[in-house]
């Protein structure tokens, strides 16, 4: 720990130090979990448009076969983790706090695990930048840290902004999780290799791998793996949450802040997760797409905490059963870490590409309890990594004034949950902010709808006016015609009458 680090650490004011619970799993190597009887593969496992299925129910598919293709610019493909039959394409419960169902493919493995023909690449470092990005996209790789942003799209950022540094996030600051730690210890070569490939795709000259100081074995392993590559450096990070947040990592490692509402690429930096790097290396070298991932199964209630490599689509219930079930009352099943992860409505949901952990938390671990009034202690403001004043924002949101919360920086909130974690009144601050962001998004949607409706209405009134005008014109025309006809008839009749008068004596009417 150098002098520069000491200074930088001293200047860090934000953050919390939640109980890590890392020792539950950090010494357990990643083991492969056997395939379950059924896999559910949601079409939206990434940020962006859901993928479009390219197989039909009843079809037999092979391991690594593409089941759904990306739609639009920001999207990602879905591949089969094993060979088997597509049983159904329909709405199934997905990991989402709402507990709603969404479109997914159901794959019944046949046990043969028959692969498609992959195209391995001996020397991916000789590939062009675009080709690397293309192969990463074809492999369906998304950010494995939890944000699930399609990795290839992020690799294309180098085109619009010159990127000088690729930061690799090995912070893993969320409590309980240790799958990144294990990946770095077990596959340091893959991490460094993937990082170098991504740097090549981005055109970045330097790679900085940031790892929290509570993972000395990972730091040593990655340092050793990086020793032959002068462009790759490893930096130890202070242990505090949320060190692994992109904005915090960029500020700590480069000293530059990501502009509000902007991308880190605008300051020449792109951040990827270490797990993503390891996958990128594997996808490029073997040609096999992303179909499995490492995740941590932990929490005080689980019988056998573990790090597992599971097929994407495996249900949480299967994973818990594999780990010996639960031994205590589970207050909450959480997917991801406890700070930002989501509460699962049930265990009948599949693991997706972004699932970094499955936690079975007891009520003591989960904390909570009923909220009381804010005492303005401003601890939340002290720990906020962004410099917001959560209690002021929440007070405004509670008073129904989300707009006022936006003035205080609601849109800059990264949702890390540090404020709610530390609040002595147990006010669900993060929940307030998600609620307000949702309301604002809904208001924006309704505003857009109002605008399009206004256009529709204008079109309608124009149409009505036109129709009325046409009708009036037509009526006028008809009237004119009728009158002309009447006149003609009258004239004709008059003429005839005159003639008749001449011929026949007038008959009284």
């Amino acid at each position: 720990m150098g002098f520069r680090d000491l200074i930088a650490d001293f200047k860090l004011q934000w953050g919390v130090h939640p109980d890590g619970h890392k020792s539950l799993t950090s010494e357990r190597p990643i083991e492969s979990m056997p395939l379950p009887e059924r896999l559910v593969l949601p079409l939206a496992q990434h940020i962006g448009a859901p993928a479009r299925p390219v197989v039909a129910p009843g079809e037999r598919v092979l391991r690594g076969q593409r089941l759904a293709e990306p739609v639009g610019m920001v999207s990602s493909a879905v591949h089969a983790p094993t060979s088997g039959r597509i049983a159904d394409i329909g709405d199934y419960p997905v990991p989402h706090p709402s507990g709603l169902a969404a479109a997914a493919l159901v794959l019944l493995p046949d046990g043969l695990d028959e692969p498609v023909a992959f195209e391995p690449c001996e020397d991916p470092h000789s590939l062009e930048a675009d080709e690397i990005a293309r192969r990463v996209a074809a492999g369906g790789v998304v950010g494995l840290g939890g944000a699930t942003f399609p990795a290839a799209v992020k690799l294309g950022l180098g085109k619009r902004n010159p990127v000088h540094t690729l930061l690799l996030n090995g912070g893993e600051c969320e409590p309980y999780l240790s799958c990144d730690d294990r990946t770095m210890r077990e596959r340091p070569q893959a991490v460094v290799d993937g990082a170098r490939l991504m740097a090549r795709a981005l055109g970045a000259q330097a790679v900085v791998i940031g790892i929290e100081r509570n993972k000395p074995a990972a730091i040593a392993a990655v340092q050793l793996a990086a020793s032959g590559h002068p462009e790759v450096s490893v930096r130890a990070l202070p242990v505090r949450y949320p060190m692994g947040s992109e904005k915090q990592l960029v500020a700590y490692l480069t000293g530059v802040e990501v502009p509000a509402g902007g991308l880190s690429a605008e300051v020449g930096v792109v951040v990827h997760n270490v797990g993503t790097a390891a996958e990128v290396s594997r996808v490029l070298r073997t040609g096999e797409p992303l179909t499995h991932r490492a995740l941590t199964v932990s929490g005080a209630a689980i019988s056998r905490p573990a790090n597992l490599r599971v097929a994407i689509g495996t249900s949480v219930a299967d994973i818990i059963a594999h780990c010996g079930g639960v031994r205590r009352d589970v207050a909450r099943y959480v997917m991801g870490g406890p700070m930002m992860g989501m509460l699962l409505p049930g265990t009948d949901v599949p693991v997706v590409k972004g699932s970094s952990g499955v936690l079975s938390l007891t009520s003591e671990e989960a904390g909570g309890g009923s909220a009381s009034a804010c005492i303005r202690c401003a601890r939340c403001a002290g720990v906020c990594p962004i410099g917001l004043q959560p209690f002021e924002m929440a007070a405004r949101i509670r008073a129904g004034r989300a707009e006022a919360a936006v003035d205080l920086g609601l849109k800059d909130c990264i949702g890390c949950g540090s404020c709610a974690y530390t609040c002595p009144a147990k006010i669900p601050l993060s929940h307030y902010f998600s609620y307000a962001k949702g309301s604002l998004a809904a208001a924006e949607r309704s505003r857009l709808k109002n605008e399009s409706i206004k256009k529709l209405t204008a079109a309608r009134s124009e149409r009505l006016a036109r129709e009325a005008r046409e009708k009036a014109e037509a009526a006028a025309r008809r009237k004119a015609e009728r009158e002309a006809a009447k006149r003609r008839a009258a004239e004709a009749a008059a003429g005839e009458a005159a003639e008749e008068r001449r011929e026949v004596p007038q008959v009284s009417a």
Partner: protein, 175 residues
Amino acid sequence: MLIAVTSLTLIATCLGLILGIAARRFHVEPPELVSELEAMLPGSQCGQCGFPGCNGAAEALADGLAPVTLCPPGGPALALALADKLGVQVELGAMGEREPTIAAVREDICIGCTKCFKECPTDAIHGAMKQMHSVMKEACTGCGKCAEICPTEAVTLVPVAATLGNWRWREPAFA
């Protein structure tokens, strides 16, 4: 007496002169409040506010005769925007989080009379004589005019279905 009258007149004249000059120098055109307000309203003339069309509503708002929460299709977002424009306090509680609804046509009862889509202020209902009508979700404001006019009660307002796209966190419960 004379001095008093003269001096007061003198003061008043001087001040009046100053104000007159100031009024001319600092002249600004008053903004057309009604047209600005009308531009903010949805413009679907649905009449749910109880005023004759959006123009009527805008006039009532400008005169302070109507609350800013008058427009159900505009929702709380519009109410806040109007309150901001008019510089008044807004009581969103009165408006409530109205569950958004859209019209839906029940196929088994619809007789295809076309009355509803003639009534629809946004042309959100499509169909033809003696044929099933359907509702365009994007265009429907949930104003309910179609439901009122339908002779067989085949058009009803239903809550917008929750999807991952429109789902959002509810307000936290607070002790």
